[in-house]
């Protein structure tokens, strides 16, 4: 696949946001807030950074991705669809009793998903296992995982980081989607997790700060991560929850709520305008 320009990445992310919010609207349930916040990072992963092939989704040498914040299926599923892992029409099956697309990210029935997730804190451990697998088999694939900044309150995240440091998993790159909000409110109020940089550094990771909505910043962070030897990388991606849909931005209430018809119409109009602008 030819590399995309930043403008093409932005266009892809805007299309993914539109598909994601549409999925949630049509299912009348789902998690738009955190899906919108990590969409630019995820788009960069699948369209610029990761070595994956939709025609050979189980290739043992492929790079892996684990959506540790597994409720962000409205981010991952649209990106996988746009990347060609399955038809965009499949997204209509999201959360439907007669569909195959479960509410949380699911590997058994959705092509291209490397790990089923949903229970917070668990995905990053499985990513550690995949990274260990590459070391054991002498393969050079890389493993990426997106976590929420609320999710890092789970003790298992730190258990996983200790293991990643112990086994010198420089093929592991975790990205924390630092949108500052979680279900019950601001992360600094619910359970303060900062200073994330010092915490992850003290657990043995190489920490990179990035702007999670700036493609140059995201690409530079991934490039730097590739140069790190003997330790895992954690990218702290500063983001805006609900990014790209004005009334959802920076609102904790949009963590796990579907828009009504009027709200969806507004979201659609905003994202279509963005797509038109980027296509123009």
């Amino acid at each position: 696949m030819d590399k995309l320009s930043n403008k093409q990445l932005a266009l892809t992310a805007a299309k993914a946001r539109f598909l994601g919010v549409t999925m949630v609207y049509e299912a009348a349930s789902g998690h738009p807030g955190g899906s919108m916040s990590c969409m630019d990072v995820l788009t960069t992963l699948y369209f610029d950074e990761m070595n994956v092939d939709p025609k050979d989704a189980k290739n043992p040498d492929r790079d892996r991705f684990v959506m540790s914040k597994g409720h962000c299926s409205p981010a991952l599923y649209p990106v996988l669809a746009l990347r060609g892992f399955f038809p965009v029409e499949d997204l209509k099956m999201f959360r439907r009793i007669d569909g195959h697309m479960s509410g949380h990210v699911e590997m058994k029935y959705v092509n291209g998903v490397d790990m089923s997730t949903g229970s917070l804190g668990q995905g990053i451990s499985t990513a550690v296992g995949m990274a260990m697998g590459a070391k054991l088999k002498g393969q050079d694939y890389r493993v990426y995982s997106i976590l929420g900044d609320g999710e890092v309150a789970e003790g298992q995240v730190w258990e996983a980081m200790m293991a990643a440091a112990k086994y010198k998993l420089d093929n592991l790159c975790a990205i924390v989607d630092v949108n500052g909000l979680q279900i019950d409110g601001r992360t600094e109020d619910v359970m303060p997790t900062e200073p994330l940089d010092k915490k992850f550094e003290s657990f043995g990771a190489h920490v990179i700060k990035a702007d999670g909505h700036d493609f140059d910043s995201i690409k530079a962070a991934f490039a730097e991560a590739r140069t790190v030897k003997g330790q895992p990388t954690v990218i702290l991606a500063k983001t805006v929850k609900g990014k790209g849909i004005s009334f959802m931005e920076n609102q904790a209430g949009w963590h796990g709520k579907a828009p009504n018809a009027a709200q969806y119409a507004q979201a659609k109009a905003e994202l279509e305008a963005k797509i038109a602008e980027l296509e123009g």
Partner: protein, 315 residues
């Protein structure tokens, strides 16, 4: 007197030996390798052993990740922390995606002894059995354990296996025609008046209970139900039809374990008295293992009494 070996020792030796034959087998522990006996594998295959520290949840998740890469991971810790502490990681990271991880819980039951209730897991069969698609095992002796380990290596899917701390008599090697088969109970002794179904250390006790009953003219069948799930329904149905009364004995709470599984099956398919013999919904306590087992009624004598109760319920 038959040889006495703890199933944990037999497990460690079997896994280490089979590690030569199966290079995709990996072994994990959470800082208890010398007790769970995963250390035997560690010594033999240091490049395929991983001490994950006192972080059981992470250990299960890491194993799940490696299973997606084609490895066959065995995770080891005490039953309490495998089935208890990391229950949800086992459910969501291993069982829900159907990954090929073998979760091994050593030191199951009251026979942990002196360490007391916090380490005496009497809930693991219930906790693991209730997860959809999970296979649950508790072999009774070294001979059976060796065969169970290889069967688990060749079984593609999640499974839980309990190991015991105590050295126990090897009994299955003396049974003519005995062969371990995953999901199939082994009849160790025939009988027509009552059936004693047991697993783990209660199998040896069931053979002794059958002797006690024989002295009173009661002919007891003994079934070693090493696989708790999936339950061997045919052997249970046959026992119900041919002996008309069943006692299920396990080193586990009487709630939720093998006794419950047998009672659930019989009540819907072949209703006969099913009397449960186990820990009566209470925590254990510290003490030498034989004394703890005796105090909680886990003995051949109490099992024989339960058999008479089951026979009296036949009508």
């Amino acid at each position: 007197m038959a040889e006495k070996i703890a199933t944990r020792n037999a497990y460690g030796e079997a896994l280490a030996e089979l590690g030569n034959k199966y290079p995709e087998v990996l072994c994990f522990d959470a800082d208890l390798a010398g007790a769970t006996m995963s250390k035997t594998f560690w010594d033999a295959h240091p490049d395929r052993f991983f001490d994950m520290g006192i972080a059981e949840g992470d250990m299960q998740g890491v194993a799940a990740g490696l299973a997606t890469c084609g490895f066959k991971p065995f995770t080891n810790t005490f039953a309490m922390f495998a089935a208890g502490r990391s229950w949800e990681q086992v459910r969501n990271s291993i069982c829900y995606p159907g990954l090929n991880v073998k979760v091994v819980g050593s030191h199951g039951g009251l026979s942990v002894g002196e360490d007391g209730a916090t380490h005496q897991c009497i809930e693991d069969f219930a906790l693991m059995r209730v997860i959809p698609g999970m296979t649950v095992l508790c072999p009774c002796d070294a001979n059976e354990m060796r065969q169970a380990v290889e069967a688990l290596i060749n079984y593609d899917g999640p499974a839980y296996m309990r190991l015991g701390r105590l050295a126990v008599e090897v009994v299955t090697d003396a049974i003519p025609g005995y062969k371990f088969e995953l999901g199939k109970g082994a009849q160790l002794r025939d009988g027509k008046d009552v059936t004693l179904i047991a697993n783990g250390i209660m199998v040896q006790m069931a053979l002794k209970a059958a002797d006690l009953l024989a002295a009173e003219g009661i002919d007891a069948r003994v079934i070693d139900m090493h696989t708790i799930k999936p339950l061997d329904e045919e052997i249970v149905r046959k026992a119900a039809e041919e002996t008309g009364a069943i006692v299920v004995s396990e080193e586990h709470n009487v709630i939720g374990g093998l006794g419950a599984a047998v009672a659930e099956f019989c009540s819907e398919n072949c209703p006969v008295p099913v009397v449960k013999h186990g820990v009566n919904d209470e925590f254990g306590r510290s003490g030498p293992a034989p004394a703890v087992l005796e105090l909680y009624g886990l003995s051949p004598e109490v099992m024989a009494e339960k058999a008479k109760k089951a026979i009296a319920l036949k009508k």
